[in-house]
Subunit: 562 residues, 2 copies
């Protein structure tokens, strides 16, 4: 057995560094993103793949309170058979088990809980190759992306949440002495104790595309602040979170704690277990990533809980001018193609003034710009092998349906094409659609087309673009925004417009940083400042609503206080 | 003109100290609580009273956007004529004016806003004698208490909120450089800017009894985090907040800012302007202190806003045993008598085991304990002049009605009596009622009897008392709890029960610290862990929901990032 305090001792240096990094917000990472042998060792890749293969077609080894049967709901976008069966528990049993785990978890204290959390992350990282396969075959992310976004970067986001939660829940010291001077007498003397108590049972509702990256912040923030967590994965992406819960329970048991501090809640599609759990009186925290429709429903109906959502919006690019047109096209086309645009951060609405844009390659009309962007996509995706590595696979039929719908628009300038993968001939791979629209076509572009669908939208001017940007994002939300301009005035106006719209902004990205990627410990992901989210990953507001600090005070022993 | 940055420079040392104190949480205070001449100067008392007198019967000098008439709604619990008239604006005009003030206030930045806030507090403190009269004659607090609780302590609570808000809103640095190493190439290099933006228009709904002490935390937390604030005082206690708003507008104007960052919203009783404002789509933050009924209504209906409430509950004392019976009686009787129990923190339910309690003065049955407590009250309040100084005056007819109702209970052991004040013969002054109840009489003791009404409730045992305490506080809430015991086991059980109930606890208070008093920079006041409140004054959670941090990022100028 290793006590929570001992786990804290083991990981204290890492946790201190993580807290410092989350305060400095420069570049920092705890988990290497390179799948190379020089980093993870000679055998890691093979052993990870073997571990993943061993899970296929079997009962996943995990205990679930009150489980009565199993479900198997996943299918690989790469076409291989998964057939993994997970035990299914009833909501009431899961909640009762979580509640029973509270006193011990509260007693572990913030440092002890952070120690346990860091150990969970260490073991998740040790299984990173297995996890990468699990993410690839549930989300459709290409292997390297699954390794990075679903592995190392997700772990970094998890550790960031641990760091912010530990920092915020220890701002008020656990013990303190209060000594108030009295005129002509001894001071009034009290000793005071402050105890962090969790808000209650927490629920994490996972998504299909980024089960770990989007699931870890809420999971670890709730854990470190003293709450038991029920993890409810998307039926299409259970395995990455099941592995995580399995590891968490293993560490909790080793620490002498009730493993039901973390439990897995699976369902058949359509069971609606998320809604049942989220509105239960004992569930006091809900983290959700997914559709605006269900996110808004949770915000309106899970009234007994604090609800942290990451939903959908209209990610917008304002194109005004550039002195690196090639870089712009290369950067933007990659952003559209990466994981087939199946990121909540992929640009959808590209606003271009009708008079065209000035570039170092000459003036470009909106039509020319759209054609150039299509050509850049073709260059990027010309080699099928490289294309598959960038695009990944289409995660589900909903995306395919939207792709078909967009392809039938009258103004398609870059149609979607099928791509064949050598390694996985059954994979569903498609290149992005680009269509031309006018500012007046708001019916089309003010809904989110999740997937590889983007619009080059003609506006009256850059000023009009900025106005349209602010209005649409204010009303419909956005996770990302970006601007290209050589004019400092336009950039300043864009920054002000982004503050008014309430969205994070990237300016003139032409190199190796992409608008749809954010880095843990530096970039915030999402913001409650617009309707696309009610949380930022991970700022203090993301953690402070998850716990209370309760004080007790008494006269200092042996002192007279008359 | 003095810029916000200059005000920050002036007050930086104070703000740094305040931030440090809010982190250490020992004893610290910025504003002297003694009304003595050696502290505030020879002439301060006279000048303050004169300034107060000059306001009576006149139009209060303050600008209100779109004001069309005036209201005069206050009456002094001490019986003097007030007749102060305040200009009345329409909710729509107040909100429009607040929204228009946002860009300038956002641009002032966290430090600039904290500087302005500290200057407002400095000037409020400079008018502390005038404020004390204003608080006395609207709330009924005796003068010294009005000076302390309504003056210095309220200012300390305000500065605490400024400190916590400044600290939390600057955790993410305003600018940072992100440099990610690249294998075999130059690092990726970005400069990033983080800007604090307020959530939106904030509303502070004041209460009748502690307009400044309970109003300042929300007011200053919202201000420093970038929000314009509409201050809606209770119709019975307008003046203390009107003076505050007047000062705030004066400082804002001097700083070259729109004074409508802070506005005053008055009403005739029954206008319901608080509900109108609180549910307006542009009002995004609501702070409220007052009845559970309206607080719960706000939480349920002001859905577009974050709602911080301090409501009512069942403040409980668990009496088990003591080795200082005299000290217990003296301390507890003072807690019941102070400001006629018109504090949201005054004990109401005193739980005593039927077998009685062991004390250093021998065994006491519940009846004997109740009689001893009544006698202690009589000793404390025997001298009319001292009694008036402790009791203050009854704030309104609601309290008088409850006092009459409690007096007609079958089991009154200490009836209420009238007290005459020499200085203010028209004052309404009453001593507390104590009645005996049994644990079975939950109908009587599970509602809040705001005012000088307490119950000695017989339970089966101390263990039963603790169970009753946890159950009633979980369901009905509490702002305070206290326990008396010589047994470390009982104290430990009481601490655990308080964590389960979700309430702050005081243990064995027998000296100069009282359960109904909390000290800024050390004690938290209230907690969302039970139904009596959704906020703690002032922890990080009290401020982090009031702002967003929005980032923008760009390649470092002159660097190639290809």
């Amino acid at each position: 057995m290793t006590s929570p305090a001992e786990f804290y001792g083991t990981h204290r240096e890492l946790l201190d560094k993580a807290i410092e990094a989350a305060g400095v917000r420069g570049y920092w990472s705890a988990y290497p993103e390179s799948p190379s042998k020089s980093v993870y060792g000679e055998d890691a890749a093979g052993a990870g793949e073997q571990a993943f293969r061993a899970l296929l077609g079997n009962d996943f080894p995990i205990e679930v309170p009150g489980a009565t049967g199993t479900v198997a709901t996943e299918r690989s976008p790469y076409g291989i058979e998964l057939g993994i069966r997970y035990p299914k528990g009833e909501p009431a049993d899961l909640i009762a088990a979580a509640r029973a785990a509270v006193p011990g978890w509260r007693a572990a204290g913030p440092q002890g809980r952070a120690g346990v959390a860091a150990e969970i992350l260490r073991r998740v990282n040790a299984r990173i190759f297995e996890m990468a396969h699990a993410v690839q075959h549930t989300t459709g992310q290409a292997f390297v992306m699954a390794f990075q976004a679903g592995g190392a970067h997700a772990q970094d986001r998890g550790l960031e949440a641990v760091a912010v939660a530990l920092a915020e829940s220890t701002r008020i010291p656990a013990t303190t002495t209060w000594s108030k001077p009295q005129r002509g007498g001894d001071p009034l003397l009290l000793e005071k104790t402050s105890t962090v108590t969790g808000r209650g049972v927490a629920l994490v509702i996972g998504c299909n595309t980024f089960p770990t990256w989007n699931g870890y912040p809420g999971l670890f923030a709730s854990l470190v602040t003293g709450n038991p967590v029920i993890v409810k994965p998307h039926p299409g992406a259970v395995l990455p979170l099941a592995i995580t819960v399995q590891i968490a329970r293993e560490v909790l048991a080793e620490a002498g704690l009730d493993p039901n501090v973390v439990t897995l809640a699976v369902e058949e599609p359509g069971d609606g277990i998320a809604a049942t759990l989220a509105t239960h009186p004992d569930v006091r925290i809900v983290d959700f990533t997914g559709s605006s429709e269900f996110g808004n429903w949770l915000e309106a109906n899970a009234r007994q809980a604090v609800v942290y959502t990451e939903k959908a919006g209209l990610n917008t690019v304002i194109v005004d001018s550039t002195d690196d047109y090639k870089g712009l096209l290369r950067n933007l086309s990659f952003s559209l193609a990466l994981y087939s645009g199946q990121m909540c951060t992929t640009p959808q609405n590209l606003l271009v003034p009708s008079g065209g844009i000035e570039t170092d390659a000459g003036h470009r009309s909106p039509d020319e710009f759209a054609a150039d962007l299509g050509a850049a996509l073709d260059r990027l995706l010309g080699d099928p092998k490289r294309a598959a590595g960038t695009l990944g696979a289409i995660v589900n039929d909903g995306v395919l349906a939207r792709l078909a719908e967009a392809g039938s628009l009258p103004s398609v300038v870059h149609p979607s094409a099928e791509v064949t993968d050598e390694q996985f001939p059954g994979a569903t791979i498609r290149t992005p659609v680009i269509a031309r629209l006018d500012a007046a076509d708001e019916k089309a572009y003010t809904r989110e087309w999740f997937g590889p669908v983007s619009f080059v939208i003609t506006t009256g001017s850059t000023e009009h673009s900025l106005r349209l940007f602010t209005e649409t994002v204010r009303h419909h939300g956005a996770l990302t925004a970006s601007v290209y301009s050589t004019s400092e005035d336009v950039l300043a106006a864009a920054r002000e417009a982004a503050l008014d719209a309430g969205v994070h902004l990237s300016q003139n990205l032409t190199g190796g940083v992409f608008v749809n990627q954010t880095a843990a410990f530096s970039d915030l992901h999402g913001t409650p400042a617009n309707p696309a989210a009610t949380a930022s990953l991970s700022d203090p507001a993301f953690v402070t609503g998850r716990f209370f600090t309760l004080q007790s005070r008494r006269h200092v022993a042996g002192e007279s206080n008359a």
